[in-house]
């Protein structure tokens, strides 16, 4: 399975994969928005026929409260391509890119409380922690766990030299100019 950075040419096929795999879907323009705002962050998994069998659509939080952090908008792997570690590989590449290009300190995502398989991946394999529950987050009314993964190990390997991982808390808000 070929894992590589997503280009604008991949966005339509990512949309196709998303429509086949997940009930949360987006218009093409939203994919363009991701690809043209944070081009380094989205990745695809491609089989030998060039079919997109998995993808991660990622961004940086537009208005971070404290530290810069990334966010996973959408992640999916076609069901019959499991057991190949694709989701983990996609997530690790996205996290690395968030640290490298945007100095992210952590990455967040939302997951349905009933999605046991995804929870297993995020908690056990990738080291995410639940930070809170957001009631009725999904369109069908289901609750979501908001999860968070600190990117310390990525920072040590790929982060900028001479920049502190721990961001000092902001002092009293400066007066707007």
């Amino acid at each position: 399975m070929n894992i590589r950075n997503a280009t604008p040419a991949d966005l339509m096929n990512m949309q196709d994969c998303n429509l086949q795999c997940l009930p949360e879907n987006y218009q093409m323009k939203y994919y363009l928005y991701h690809g043209l705002s944070w081009p380094q962050l989205s990745f695809v998994a491609e089989n030998l026929d060039g079919e997109i069998v998995g993808y991660v659509l990622a961004k940086m939080e537009e208005d971070p409260e404290d530290q810069p952090h990334g966010h996973i908008t959408s992640l999916a792997v076609k069901r019959n391509y499991r057991r190949l570690g694709i989701a983990q590989k996609l997530m690790d590449q996205a996290s690395r890119a968030m640290v490298e290009s945007f100095h992210a300190r952590y990455v967040s995502l939302h997951v349905r409380v009933s999605n046991r398989a995804a929870l297993q991946l995020y908690k056990k394999t990738l080291g995410f922690r639940i930070s809170e529950t957001e009631p009725k987050y999904y369109a069908d009314g289901e609750d979501a766990y908001a999860m968070k993964r600190m990117l310390r190990e990525f920072w040590d390997k790929f982060g900028p030299k001479g920049v502190d991982f721990d961001v000092k808390p902001a002092k009293a808000k400066a007066v707007e100019p």
Partner: protein, 801 residues
């Protein structure tokens, strides 16, 4: 102004009224006029309006900016450059002015101009800190321009000079590796490639580039590279899989054995698909089969991969299930469904809760010609939370022509209160639209098929529209490499396979409707049904809109709703066909099918020169393609018609045609029949080509040749059973369907049809297309019995592990 506001509130007619009045009274309203035109996508009109406005206010930033956006959207690049220059003169202190101006040079291919402007701009800039993403992106954009310009040394120097400010290390490494390689600094390039592999060991391109650098002399040296990489990256999948492509003999057997054992042990469902590519290489399919059948018997006997393996290496029971799973896929691919089914049934008996097994069983039946879909539905019922299984199930149902059932299944994952199909069309769901189009066409519901094709076309047009906002956005965000990449993609958006599929379906349908227009008054019941469906959709949409979209985008560009009846009864089918055809001819230069489609369309429009152009292009791509042969024969038949078609041509046209005959046919005077007979003779053993040849034979010689054609077809089928015809189900099905409908050899009598059907049934015992009427009825009844259980029963076995 009032008009502009009204237009955004959706009151278009009032808006236009006011604006036109405004124009009479105040010539400055041209800008507003332009904005309204642009909102209705009348770009030429909008541009004229802006230019008018500029005559009165040549320094109005807003108008200039709006004009520049239109110019780049429509790729009027000279104009774009000129407008951006004016913007720069007016606001030299704004970053976007400089970047936009530089970009306009890049789009015109003037790399030196681009770089000069940007370097000038950079002189005045100090990044706010060492790490400034936007500045980093600008630097990398300049590098990318240098690369395009072939200025490799300059690019490398620039990278080194600005290294401290560049944040995207991965792109930097990729560029550096490429540049060092091109400049002959091979060991430096190798170091960087290996670093890249460490960052992402699953990127196939990195390995290809590494091999190019190291230039191994043969499989042994190649294998050494990968053995080495496996040590440094023990958990990476790519270095374990790639050697299977180039190894042969005992080395190959050993490697494949290891690879398969590891994967079976882990339980990788897609193992067959990962290995399938090797089957094209001689002998490798047999090696795989031998190994896997070996595991199967050994696992069944003693629970280990090999009899001689140590007792401690006992495999869990699931391993055997995956071995069976692999074998079932293997046999199905080789056209041996009976064996495939035997094996998958063993697996199902062993582990009846595993969803993949039912999906595969359904697929085996489908590939063998049985679209009853029971097993896909069963698979879906085992994992109701998974949309992918649902999508596959729905796809099969659509392919089987069971549209309502498909809607039911799809509805389990689409928004409540909407009709599933409508929702998916709104969400630009291409797989759904193209599958439906194909299915409706097969069912003869041409209006519905065309509606889906037009919906695909509209979505592609929508995506071309989408880029508009990004022309200013990307200049601010500085993600310029991605922006240029997006522009180039948009230039050839319709080269995408989905567009090709939809276009081809639309063109074929329009050609059919041109030959046999639908009777305006016929099919009353179908019309009523369609009208009812349309009404139901509109009602559901209204209700949905009331609830959810109170503030829906009233300013959104609204196109006329697509009416299947109108589409199917259009009086200009060929014009419509050409609309779909043009992007294919312009954007798919390596597609012989596009050229053949073009030939068919131009033949219907009686444009001999355009036909000729398509033939010449197609021949240069793939001279042996059977469809091209058909086009050639038909062209030749036209040139042989001296009194009719040839006489109707203008003399210069006729002369040009005659001039090209030798290059197309080998000599200036070939008889169509002889040309086709030669092709038929060459095609012995190739069923698809033989079918084409026989079709043309009938076209040329008429009903007197029917018995000869039928005999030849029968012979081809008999001979084919020795030559791998069991993998040609689709070709056989298509041939049989056309025989039945009279489109292949004219009206064929029942006895002959039945004889061929029986012959096909013997070759493909599972294919329902070839069942006798009694068998077909029995099969349909059997399906009905299973259905209530599967659809109504809630999942009793929810777990899948």
């Amino acid at each position: 102004m009032k008009g502009l506001i009204l237009s955004y509130m959706g009151k278009k007619d009032e808006a236009w009224e006011l604006v036109k009045r405004g124009l009479k009274n105040n010539l400055k309203s041209w800008h507003v006029f332009g904005l309204l035109q642009r909102a209705e996508r009348k770009y030429d009109e909008a541009m004229k309006a802006y230019k008018c406005a500029l005559r009165f206010e040549s320094d109005n930033m807003q108008i200039l900016r709006d004009l520049s956006l239109l110019q780049v959207q429509m790729r009027i690049l000279d104009g774009y450059r000129d407008t951006r220059y004016q913007l720069l003169l007016l606001r030299p202190q704004q970053k976007a002015s400089w970047i936009g101006y530089a970009m306009s040079f890049h789009l015109l291919g003037d790399y030196d101009g681009t770089l000069a402007i940007l370097k000038e701009y950079c002189k005045t800039q100090k990044p706010s800190s060492q790490y400034d993403y936007e500045h980093s992106e600008l630097l990398l954009y300049m590098v990318s321009v240098m690369l395009e310009a072939g200025q490799q040394q300059a690019a490398l120097d620039f990278l080194n000079e600005h290294d401290a400010n560049i944040m995207d290390r991965t792109y930097t490494k990729e560029v550096r590796a490429r540049l060092c390689s091109e400049l002959g600094r091979l060991s430096e390039s190798e170091t960087v490639m290996r670093e890249l592999i460490s960052v992402n060991p699953e990127n196939r391109a990195y390995y290809a580039q590494l091999e190019e650098l190291l230039k191994p002399s043969g499989p042994v040296e190649r294998m050494a590279i990968y053995a080495d990489l496996r040590k440094t990256h023990p958990r990476a999948a790519m270095p374990r899989r790639l050697p299977l492509d180039f190894l042969t003999g005992d080395e190959f057997v050993k490697e494949l054995d290891n690879y398969l054992r590891q994967s079976f042990h882990k339980g990788v469902p897609q193992l067959f698909r990962l290995v399938e590519g090797l089957y094209d290489q001689p002998g490798k399919a047999d090696v795989a089969l031998r190994l896997v059948e070996g595991y199967r018997s050994s696992l069944a006997d003693c629970g280990r991969f090999g009899e001689s393996d140590p007792a401690s290496s006992a495999e869990p029971p699931s391993t055997l299930v995956w071995v069976w799973y692999y074998l079932a896929q293997h046999y199905s691919k080789l056209g041996r469904p009976a064996e495939a089914l035997r094996v998958i049934d063993l697996a199902i008996e062993h582990t009846p809760t595993l969803t993949e097994l039912y999906s595969l069983k359904g697929q085996i039946y489908k590939d063998a010609g049985d679209m009853s879909c029971e097993y896909l539905k069963e698979a879906q019922s085992l994992d109701t939370a998974d949309r992918y299984v649902n999508s596959v199930c729905a796809r099969y149902l659509i392919q089987a022509g069971r549209m309502e059932e498909a809607e039911q299944f799809l509805g389990r994952f689409t928004r409540e209160g909407t009709i599933a199909g409508e929702h998916l069309a709104d969400m630009q769901c291409m797989w759904y639209l193209t599958e439906c189009a194909a299915s409706y066409k097969r069912l003869g519901q041409y209006g519905q098929a065309l509606k889906k094709c037009h919906e695909v076309e509209r979505h592609f047009n929508e995506m071309v529209e989408d880029q508009f906002d990004f022309h200013s956005y990307c200049l601010r965000k500085m993600t310029l490499r991605a922006y240029v990449s997006m522009l180039r993609l948009e230039d050839k958006l319709k080269a995408h396979p989905y567009y090709f599929t939809a276009a081809r379906l639309a063109i074929d349908t329009y050609l059919m409707l041109h030959r046999r227009p639908l009777d305006a008054l016929a099919d009353d019941s179908e019309r009523q049904k369609a009208e009812q469906e349309q009404a139901a959709r509109l009602a559901a949409r209204k209700a949905h809109n009331k609830e959810h979209d109170a503030d829906s985008d009233a300013n959104a560009f609204k196109e006329e709703a697509l009416d299947p009846e109108k589409l199917a009864r259009t009086d200009k089918p060929l014009d419509q066909a050409v609309t779909f055809l043009r992007p294919l001819l312009n954007l798919c230069p390596d597609s012989v099918e596009a050229q053949c489609l073009g030939f068919d369309v131009y033949r219907a429009r009686q444009r001999p020169l355009l036909m000729l152009r398509c033939l010449l292009k197609a021949k240069s791509i793939d001279a042996s393609h059977p469809w091209l042969h058909a086009c050639l024969v038909r062209f030749l038949a036209m040139t042989a018609d001296q009194q009719g078609a040839m006489a109707a041509m203008e003399p210069p046209v006729r002369a040009l045609i005659v001039q090209h005959l030798p290059s197309l046919f080998g000599s200036a005077s070939v008889a169509p029949k002889a040309f086709n007979d030669a092709f038929l003779a060459k095609s012995a053993g190739n069923f698809v080509n033989t079918c084409w040849g026989l079709r043309l034979k009938y076209e040329l010689e008429g009903s007197t040749s029917q018995s000869a054609c039928l005999a030849a077809l029968t012979a081809a089928l008999s001979a084919g059973s020795a030559a791998g015809i069991e993998r040609q189900l689709e070709a056989c099905s298509n041939a049989y369907i056309e025989l039945r409908s009279g489109d292949l050899f004219g009206t064929v009598d029942a006895d002959n049809l039945n004889r061929l059907r029986t012959q096909l049934h013997d070759l493909f015992p599972y294919a329902r297309e070839f069942f006798s009427p009694t068998d077909a009825a029995a099969a349909a009844a059997a399906v009905v019995k299973i259905q209530p259980q599967v659809l109504n029963g809630e999942t009793s076995n929810n777990g899948d592990e």
